[in-house]
Symmetry: C2
Subunit: 147 residues, 2 copies
DNA sequence: GGCTTATTGATACTAGGTATCTATACGCTA
DNA sequence: TAGCGTATAGATACCTAGTATCAATAAGCC
């Protein structure tokens, strides 16, 4: 029986279809599983939640979704690479080192200063990768409450 | 016979000794090999250049050097993780996507703007990871010459 | 030179991901 | 809505980068 998907998962599938990829049962399952995550996740997380799917299929689906921009990679402070639902286009992440929450940073206001810094080194800027680590609002206020 | 090392390699070894690590023959070989690299490298690169050393030894030496800060990790635009000799302390890299050259960016002038952006999201900044991609001076001028 | 302990290298193991290949199922078209 | 060509799935083997284990060795201190 075909996997039922919610609106968010439906969006992921539509993005793939727009690119000419078929909407298959495994892809629906992966899309729904991703839509169900409440924070960044690994391919292994998905695999545990979708034990009936082939491992390669999960990696392949993830790769397509990253390529089309609806899922992005997140570099954790310890070097681990995770995935998460993404705003399309260029953006960064505020990653809470305490609870692991991730918040997208949409406006990229470092581009201007980077351009200038690069230029002063004779370097022609074309892109950058930035991850920001710290403590989210609720983790900061939690500490105050605990004191 | 003990491996002869040059001044740069000697510095790496001294850093380890300061931390209480012994100056062994394999570590001298690794330090010298790192000092010989003219750009960022992988553990596998070192292994090819030091075929007589155990693979684990190379990873262990690299890890120590990264921990003591004299070698740093560099995230290439394609996601590959490389190593390179490092200025100690916080800094970033200008990575040429054409020739692969890497230049250290010592002053971190994005800290201020990041702090402000984070604060506006209720986020308490504690650190960040930034890699900058583009084209180095010689690659940019090379294109002009070729036209 | 001898002793203690850190370190080595062999080996096996892990995580995360890709290549290959046959069987299947999408989805278009008649 | 049956049939068909092609994309895709899943099994499997393989790969890169790294870690755990452990017996043998070598630093370095007295
Ligand atoms: Mn994102
Ligand atoms: Mn560096
Ligand atoms: Zn938090
Ligand atoms: Zn260059």
């Amino acid at each position: 029986m075909p996997t039922r998907v919610n609106a968010l998962a439906e969006q992921l599938l539509e993005t793939l279809e727009e690119q000419g990829y078929r909407s298959t049962s495994p892809r629906r399952a992966v899309a729904q599983a991703i839509a169900n995550q409440d924070k960044h996740f690994t391919a292994e997380d998905l695999r545990e939640q979708l034990p009936s799917l082939g491992r390669a299929t999960i990696f392949r689906s993830l790769k397509l979704l990253v390529e089309t921009g609806v899922v992005c990679r997140v570099l954790l402070e310890d070097g681990d690479l995770h995935y998460q639902l993404s705003h399309r286009g260029h953006h960064h992440h505020l990653l809470c080192v305490e609870c692991g929450a991730s918040q997208d940073l949409l406006g990229c206001d470092i581009e201007a200063v980077l351009k200038q810094t690069s230029a002063s080194h004779g370097f022609e800027l074309s892109g950058h990768w930035l991850e920001v680590y710290g403590r989210c609002k609720s983790c900061s206020s939690g500490e105050l409450a605990a004191v």
